[in-house]
Amino acid sequence: MNVKRYLKKQAKQDRLAIMEADGGETLRALGIEPPKKKPHRAAWIAGAASLAASLAVVLTCVFTLYPFNAQEEKYLEENFVTEDSTVEKMNAELHDFLLTFDETACQIAITRTYDSVSGEALYYQLTINRSDNSLYGEFYITCNEHYEYPNFTFSLTPIFETLTHYAITYQLESTIHPQYGFETITCKAEIKGTIDCVYITQYDELILDGHTFLDSVQAIVHATEN
């Protein structure tokens, strides 16, 4: 019995070997139906693992190399040019906001940065200080839908507040200066419009008359009526 079983098994293996060699043509020519080959479970697992690995490689390449941030790459930093500017010029190029200052009570320094290839304006940087030097503020205002300021972050958990005409996200710290005794506030803020974005990157104010940071911001930044 064992010999018979061995021979039967060997014959099946031989048929399989012949079939794998020529796709079963020889067996069919001899009038023998080739055995049906059952896919092995290990082969399935190996195949699936191979497919998963291939997918992982392809997806990694796609997510790493595909320019999802193509918008930021529209302008190259080496083509940026910064020039002196004015509040009037800035307001003419803003879409969502209008910034106003009491220039008799404040000192303003403003620059405009544009892309020298396209000539398109990218952002304005503005420094303000009150003539009594009780307020110092730095504003960074982007005015191009294809340009986003890359480095603005809050270092503490910010507060989100909806004001009358726009929403503001900000962090604020108020302290009594231990050496001089004045109440001082230090803030950072972000006001987003549809195209423009106003970043207040540094804001230090000595509170001498009881007003608040949000009062000061709303006196400067106004939403335009589109």
Binding site: F63, T64, F68, E77, D84, Q107, A109, T111, Q125, T127, I128, N129, D132, N133, S134, Y136, E138, Y140, P150, N151, F152, T153, F154, S155, L156, Q171, E173, T175, H177, P178, Q179, Y180, G181, F182, T184, T186, K188, T201, Q202, D204, L206, L208
Partner: protein, 275 residues
């Protein structure tokens, strides 16, 4: 992607902070030794990451000394890699208070309530100053060495009929807080030459302080205009944090508290007197 970027930045930061501080020192005119090889090339748009550190405490005491309630904090950068020129502008801006001819057509600031000096913001006159210092320091797109920084400041001041003296705040190759503290109290700002730096935003609460840091890996020059010492009694013992109130020169976080022991390496620090 965000995680990959964060990991990448972290690795970059480790790489920078692990670097040797200075491979070769050179003797300057006044006997001080300058690091000859390190080029300081921070720009005002250095890549930043942020980190928040919380200090829980039982009690807190702080010692603060500021040279002005709002010090100069100019950020105008004449070109890339010009952090030294921006730092030089802030330094000259500080002394403009005592000699308004240092920066023509610029009012340095004003005294608030007769006790606290508050500096004016940057303007076209300080922009021009930054350009001049950039030229006098011989800065190019690769940056500025410490020796170039000092030479540029001296050349500028000499033209204005002023003298410059510098004093090291280092001791046996390490930063000496006590030396710097002494010079600050003598009304002399400290110029920091660093590899990697932080600018902290301090939020003080009743039982804890939260310090949000902006971090950069750049080789950078910035100016300290005051010191802050925070002594904490905590459940784990006493902790002291040492900060300087700096004008970082960066467009974001142009001023804040620089923690001298947090993700930074002070290559050199000079107290500068212009007289």
């Amino acid at each position: 992607m965000l995680h990959l970027t964060t990991i990448g930045l972290s690795l970059l930061m480790l790489g920078t902070l692990g670097a040797a501080p200075c491979a070769s020192l050179k003797n300057g005119d006044d006997g001080l030794r300058f690091c000859e090889t390190i080029v300081y090339n921070g720009t005002n748009d250095d890549t930043h990451s942020t980190e928040i550190v919380r200090r829980d405490f039982i009690s807190r005491e702080k010692s603060v000394y500021d040279l002005a309630i709002i010090p100069p904090r100019y950020t105008y950068s004449p070109a890339v890699s010009s952090c030294a020129a921006v730092a030089g502008s802030n330094l000259i801006g500080f002394y403009d208070r005592y000699n308004e001819d240092l920066i023509p057509n610029h009012k340095s600031g004003s005294l608030i309530a007769g006790v606290a000096y508050s500096y004016s913001s940057q303007d076209e006159a300080t922009f021009a100053l930054a350009h001049t210092l950039y030229d006098y320091m011989g800065t190019d797109e690769t940056g500025t060495t410490e020796a170039q920084f000092v030479d540029g400041i001296k050349k500028f001041c000499k033209e204005k009929g002023m003298s410059v003296s510098t004093a090291s705040c280092m001791s046996s190759g390490s930063f000496s807080f006590s030396k710097a503290k002494t010079y600050i109290e003598a009304n002399q700002p400290i110029v920091f030459f660093v590899s990697g730096y932080n600018v902290g935003f301090m939020a003080e609460r009743d039982t804890f302080d939260s310090i949000g840091y902006s971090l950069s890996t750049a080789n950078h020059v910035m100016v300290g205009f005051g010191y802050y010492i925070y002594n904490y009694v905590t459940t784990a013992g006493n902790v002291t944090d040492y900060y300087f109130n700096v004008a970082s020169g960066a467009a974001i976080d142009s001023a804040g508290l620089y923690n001298i022991n947090f993700k930074t390496r002070i290559i050199d620090a000079l107290a500068v007197n212009i007289y």
